[in-house]
């Protein structure tokens, strides 16, 4: 099959990856990126929005051809769809209320890979466990952070699942939960938001391994040719620094996966 025109879906409500402007147009890291990738692949692209809930079923049902919605490539998702190479990873970390004793969680600012540095990462987890004992942790349902919590902190703390990330922010500020866990990219921008000044990023950052390869383009399994096209384009964009440039613009730090 020859790809002349592809439709890409995004959520449109997950800044800085993707967001909607008041006039309804889209904006964000992935919006800039897909234009660049499509130019490299030499195809015409349209971007549509789709609620997160139905985004994977809609892809398999043929509503569109690709997903770029800050979606991490995880083993579970890969059972259903396939993913391109990653175009961004920020790692997962914690946020707490300003002034709480959890603010001083050890290993702040350190990044652990659950693939290559597993022993160090597990040690770090052991270090923060006593602090989290009996606390309530908020996390988005079925996000990679929730997979992490299920594996390492279940039993230590109570885990509460939210439908969307801004909801656990609210409960953190209201004092219903003590800690939240989400991606660094998300939390750093959320904490910077006016009104969220009582929220601070804390503790170590984790990535890879069960946290997946980072955000990637989701595709139907049978469209291997399309995946190859995306992989090629992403590799080019990494190589010539486009990804770094765009991530500096949107995140304020480099999210280029290595």
């Amino acid at each position: 099959k020859e790809w002349k025109h592809i439709t890409i879906a995004t959520e449109g409500a997950f800044p800085p990856w993707n967001a909607t402007k008041p006039d309804g147009s889209l904006d964000g890291y992935e919006i800039d990126l897909y234009k660049d990738l499509c130019k490299r692949m030499n195809v015409e692209c349209t971007m549509v929005t789709q609620a997160w809930d139905g985004i994977i079923p809609a892809l398999t049902a043929g509503k569109f051809d690709a997903i770029m919605a800050g979606m991490s490539a995880t083993a579970k998702r890969e059972k259903i769809i396939s993913f391109s190479e990653s175009y961004g990873t920020t790692g997962q970390t914690f946020a707490v209320a300003r002034g709480s004793d959890l603010e001083k969680m050890p290993h702040f600012g350190e990044v652990f890979s659950l693939e290559t540095e597993l022993p160090q990462a597990e040690k770090a987890i052991e270090d923060i466990k006593p602090l989290l004992k009996g606390k309530i942790i908020g996390v988005q349902t079925a996000s990679i952070a929730s997979v992490f919590l299920d594996k390492y902190l279940k039993g230590t703390a109570e885990i509460r699942e939210y439908k969307s990330t801004e909801q656990h922010d609210l409960d953190l500020l209201a004092g219903r939960v003590d800690v939240i866990m989400a991606s660094m990219g998300y939390l750093s921008t959320a904490a910077a938001k006016e009104g969220n000044s009582d929220m601070v990023v804390a503790g170590p950052r984790f990535q890879r391994g069960i946290l997946g390869r980072g955000s990637s383009v989701g595709l139907r399994k049978e469209d291997t040719d399309l995946r190859d096209m995306f992989n090629k384009a992403i590799a080019e964009a990494k190589a010539d620094g486009t990804i770094k440039k765009l991530s500096d613009k949107w995140f304020g730090f480099d999210v280029t996966p290595h």
Binding site: E11, G12, A13, F14, P15, A19, T20, K21, P22, D23, G24, V48, T49, Q50, A51, D53, G54, P57, A58, A61, G62, K63, S164, E166, Q167, D169, L170, A190, K193, E194, G195, N196
Partner: protein
């Protein structure tokens, strides 16, 4: 609470979300209206089947209302949206086509709402029919009216009198059920509020704005229903 004010966010200028929210409210009304009308047709047929149908027809109608009132509406919408596309694609391929056929979100939503509200319409119409005074039907029969004529001249007006409050309730439900249609990618009011909430991280203002718009729609529709109720209740001496 956060610091950008409500009106700053919801204004109608280029940086305001006013127009987007209004447009979404329009979509909500359109989907709800299409679903409600479809449901009305299904409901009249269902009520007829339950009241006057023979045994198999009645059982079918009973099964329809039991199932559709019993399962969450979201499931129906999902089945239409995803199932509909798959089915259409399968048909399309069977005729030699290639790739996917889309089942538009609006149609899926309206049909799903129509199908679920049809079950409620059925019950409302049936209840209203039984509220009609036996004697008034007998008088019509004794005058030799045919079924159709009785339906048009006596049953319908009396039925609407009893059914209107119930229909008002269904309309309210349908209006808000349209919020579920967002899974089909349709940007109606609730989805627009979520998008806005996510994009600006100001969930409150957006949900407040959505609530206010819903209330405005309700206000207008209440007027319409009250007016029609007054019209169809002529001849009733006010109870107490």
């Amino acid at each position: 609470m956060s610091h950008a004010s409500f009106w700053e966010l919801m204004n109608f200028g280029p940086d305001g979300w006013g127009w987007s929210m209004m447009r979404a409210a329009g979509v909500t009304v359109m989907v709800a209206l299409a679903g409600f009308i479809l449901g009305g047709f299904i409901g009249s047929f269902g009520a007829w089947a339950k009241i006057a149908g023979n045994r198999p027809v009645r059982i079918a109608a009973d099964a329809y209302t039991t199932i559709l009132r019993g399962i969450p509406d979201l499931l129906v919408i999902f089945l239409f949206y995803f199932g509909g596309s798959l089915a259409l694609s399968a048909i399309y391929r069977a005729f030699g086509g290639e790739g996917f056929v889309d089942f538009p979100g609006f149609a899926a939503g309206a049909m799903a709402i129509g199908l679920t509200s049809g079950a409620q319409h059925t019950e409302v119409f049936r209840g209203a029919y039984y509220a009609i005074h036996d004697g008034e039907l007998e008088a019509a029969k004794a005058a030799g009216m045919t079924r159709m004529m009785m339906l048009r001249r006596i049953i319908m007006p009396l039925l609407l009198r009893h059914a209107l409050p119930g229909l008002g309730n269904i309309w309210q439900v349908v209006l808000k059920e349209s919020a579920l249609v967002s899974v089909t990618g349709l940007i109606e009011l609730a989805r627009q509020a979520q998008i806005g909430a996510g994009s600006t991280r100001q969930p409150f203002y957006f949900f407040m704005a959505a609530a206010l718009l819903f209330l405005m729609i309700t206000f207008v529709s209440n007027r319409v229903f009250r007016f029609s109720e007054a019209h169809f209740s002529r001849g009733v001496r006010g109870a107490r």
